[in-house]
């Protein structure tokens, strides 16, 4: 079913027309239709709540101990919406255009336009649920700016926007649980998709506490299982974030879209040593007020405060005067890498740049002093008042930085470096968010759809909630309307039995290797290969090496893995081993995809393909397509291409100068 199914009509009318004509399911029939949802982040929880409200029988699954813990909770900076509350020229079209351009013209126009069109409703819905967004003194909602954009359209709740949005969706979900419309399965992991006569009919899940395998029937299955950034081992993802659900689906026939499109976020706390288990993001919102710089002198041994203004290189402001510190993430990350590689990095590792708030503190301080009627304020007074403003805006982020590094970012600049953060690639879906397997959908970060080769800041929350609240409730009806005559299939069906056997065989196989190395140690090694050779910069020779190294690692994994504990009990080592096994296979596909795409676009930077001044050089003539990979067996994939048509936003060299 490799057809994008984009509706006819002009771009701005497609979604409206679709909704006007899409098939509906009457309330009585909804009660007998069952939907399974994997993952309870923004996409999964919002979909579960909305479908439960509509009357479908929903079963939701998460591996954490509560749906509220999904990693959407860690999103910091904000959520975009084309509300134009600031009267600064924003519109649905501008949000659409910024997103397409930000994604370096590698996403589908129709999907992105729909995303922009429903964005305003998301804010309305969240406020109605009681999400405590930041407000102005007049009681109305506040906005700030994010990268790659020249308007203020980002809504936020201090540095905890994801948490507040997720709690809103979680509460809506728990309300449906209380009403009996949603059944919640926590500490469960989906390990197989069940397909009967070409349609998705359920899943096999493992109860992580007891180790028992369970069979669940559904008329449709929604994967909202998040991204796969943890393939790099070190990333800003949660420790448990994994690709397993998506990967099982892929191996059962769902194509994987643009796997090599990964986002390296420019502002994260740098690595300190081998013990490091994860990286922590410092929100992009900090670039509203923080200025990024390195010393003009190589290997400058001085402390940041001792380096005078004239000897600092504010390299983003120098290279990109129009957007300055607010260039998109891929551009900012590469620029930081360029400076550090050239020998201008700071800190003990020299793999860091400064993010400095001194001038913002001074600017805010002066304004506040004026507001408080302080004439001729002292530097101390200005500092005090300015610090208060920064504290209110970013307090939790500054605290987090201080706890991790032991340094006070109010008085000394933060040290930051890029880190893996988000994956634009994911399961290929059509306009209705259906994968190539009928009845199997992918939502949120788990799909490939809206961000092209680079996601703009504050757009992941928008997409997760758009998919769950406002897209899937319409599009799933179009499929389920054809299923009203399908009675629930008993899980004693041979297909369920076969799927369960695949899972139990694989678990035994993993357990019975009885080797010497832990799942964690393999994961670390995979991450190193991926970061070195399929990270911020990629080239043909490196990618080929990476593929060989990953294959060797895979063989070693299946020969020398050690899992302590047993299968039939709570066993985090076993859970981890299964996830690492899938990451290894995915890693190879990512390298294959990166090797195939002989162009640079967004976060995918092929060193062979760059402009004279080191910017990404796209090749629209040959690569204006979505790469959708079909699994054909061990280390074997077939490439399918979805050509991208640009009717409105015509591709041009992306410029933020």
């Amino acid at each position: 079913m490799f057809k994008s199914n984009i509706p006819d009509g002009t771009l701005d009318k497609k979604w409206e027309d679709y909704k006007d004509h899409v098939k509906l399911v009457n309330p009585a029939n909804k009660r007998s239709l069952e939907v399974i949802i994997i993952g309870t982040g923004l996409a999964g929880a919002s979909a579960a709540a909305s479908l439960g409200e509509l009357g479908y029988k929903v079963k939701a699954f998460c591996f954490q101990d509560s749906p509220r813990r999904a990693h959407s909770i860690a999103a910091q900076g904000g959520i975009n919406a084309a509300k134009n509350y600031q009267n600064d020229g924003d519109s649905t079209f501008r949000l659409f255009y910024d997103t397409i351009k930000g994604g370096d013209y590698r996403s589908r126009e129709s999907n992105v336009y729909r995303l922009a069109a429903v964005s305003a409703s998301i804010i309305d819905q969240c406020v109605a649920q009681g999400v405590p967004f930041a407000r102005e003194y007049g009681g109305l909602l506040s906005n700030r700016s994010f990268g790659g954009v020249q308007v203020q359209r980002t809504f936020y709740a201090a540095g905890q926007t994801g948490q507040q949005l997720l709690i809103g969706a979680y509460q809506a979900l728990e309300r449906q649980v209380a009403l009996g419309n949603v059944e919640m399965f926590t500490r469960h992991e989906m390990l197989e998709i069940v397909i009967i006569d070409g349609k998705t009919r359920g899943i096999i899940a493992r109860n992580l506490i007891t180790g028992e395998l369970e069979r669940h029937f559904g008329h449709a299955v929604l994967l909202a299982s998040g991204g796969y950034g943890n393939v790099f081992y070190l990333s800003t993802n949660a420790m448990g974030s994994n690709v397993t659900a998506a990967w099982k689906a892929h191996k059962q026939g769902a194509y994987f879209g643009n796997p090599c499109f990964t986002q390296i976020h420019p502002t994260c706390i740098p690595v300190t040593g081998d013990h490091q288990s994860k990286l922590t993001l410092m929100s992009e919102s900090l670039r509203n007020d923080g200025r990024i710089w390195v010393p003009k002198q190589k290997n400058d041994p001085r402390k940041p405060g001792e380096i005078p203004e004239g000897e600092r290189d504010y390299y983003l402001e120098r290279r990109y005067p129009a957007f300055g510190n607010l260039v998109p993430r891929d551009v900012a990350s590469r620029a930081a890498k360029e400076r550090c590689d050239a020998g201008y990095g700071v800190g003990t590792s020299k793999q860091a740049v400064y993010l400095d708030f001194a001038s913002a503190i001074e600017r805010y301080g002066k304004t506040e002093c004026r507001k408080h009627g302080i004439e001729n304020p002292t530097a101390e007074e200005i500092r005090h008042h300015g610090t208060e403003v920064i504290k209110e805006k970013y307090g939790n982020l500054f605290d987090m930085y201080a706890k991790i590094t032991g340094e006070d970012p109010y008085t000394t600049p933060m040290r930051i470096y890029p880190a893996v953060h988000y994956t634009m690639g994911g399961l290929w879906v059509d306009y209705e968010l259906m994968t190539t397997v009928p009845g199997l959908y992918a939502l949120g970060e788990a799909n490939f759809s809206d961000h092209g080769a680079n996601r703009l800041g504050a757009s992941a929350l928008m997409q997760g909630l758009a998919d769950g609240y406002f897209v899937i409730p319409y599009t799933i009806g179009n499929y389920l309307a054809g299923e009203i005559r399908t009675a629930p299939i008993p899980t004693s069906h041979a297909a369920f039995e076969a799927a369960e056997k695949i899972v139990s065989d694989r678990l035994s196989q993993l357990k019975n290797i009885n080797g010497t190395q832990s799942p964690e140690s393999f994961h670390k090694r995979l991450g190193k290969i991926m970061w070195d050779k399929c990270g911020m910069a990629r080239n043909e020779a490196g990618l080929k090496e990476a593929i060989d190294e990953i294959r060797a690692l895979k063989a070693e994994f299946w020969r020398d893995l050690r899992i302590t504990g047993d299968i039939g009990e709570f066993n985090p080592e076993l859970d981890k081993a299964g996830r690492v096994a899938d990451f290894i296979e995915l890693g190879e596909l990512m390298c294959q995809d990166a090797l195939m795409r002989r162009e640079s676009c967004g976060g995918h930077f092929r060193e062979e393909m760059q402009t004279e001044d080191g910017e990404a050089k796209r090749d629209d003539a040959n690569f204006s397509f979505v790469a959708a990979w079909e699994y054909k067996g061990d280390s074997n994939w077939e490439l399918h291409k979805e050509q991208l048509e640009f009717e409105v936003a015509h591709p041009s060299q992306r410029s933020y100068k």
Partner: protein
Amino acid sequence: MEHYTMNLTLKVWRQKNKKDKGSFETYSVSDISSEMSFLEMFDVLNERLVHEGKEPIAFDHDCREGICGMCSMYINGRPHGPWEGTTTCQLHMRAFKDGDTIVVEPWRANAFPVIKDLIVDRSAFDRIIQAGGYISVNTGNAVDANAIPIEKDKADTAFAAAACIGCGACVAACKNSSALLFLCAKVSHLTLLPQGGPERKTRVVDMIAQMDKEGFGSCTSTGACEAVCPKEIPITNIARLNAEYGHAGLTSDK
């Protein structure tokens, strides 16, 4: 910041499953960097245990940036360890010095049964939310977001309460295992906002009934919960909850 390494003795609670009695095991760890997080120190120990063919220590953790609420260790007699306003995952080893002995236990409360080692079952919190910790608004019913202006102070106070991560440290710290700080955070968040008005009375009554049913104890205003809350939810929210509960109980209309 000066970095250093240290050797430590750990006394960790090991319990195979819910039915097992459980006991402390002693481990020594060496060359621990002051730059590590507390959980990374556990990673090092676990990696060694796996290497020795022993079962690693099970503990809950996920985001490791202090926001998901999954981590839950009771460290030297204090939930989340010695730092104020900090989750276990954000606690760093520079809080300790060479030669220290550290005692690590799971949350202890009847309503939070141990699943394995340091992992407990906190699903009671989800059921308390199910009892009324929400605003009943279906998707698509919302008016324009700016149609409801909210005083900044109120919005800020609601946000401060909504910052609760549902980790359960408040219950673990309380001598009565009361869940009132968790509960009042949600009630305050929703009551302070006009959107939460219509269900104000039923919410507080139903949530408290569910809390009692789950086997949490009563509040005796000791304040241990506030002292250990990683998000520093103030105990004044309990006063607000009590007022709400009294108001709901003393008025006849629903």
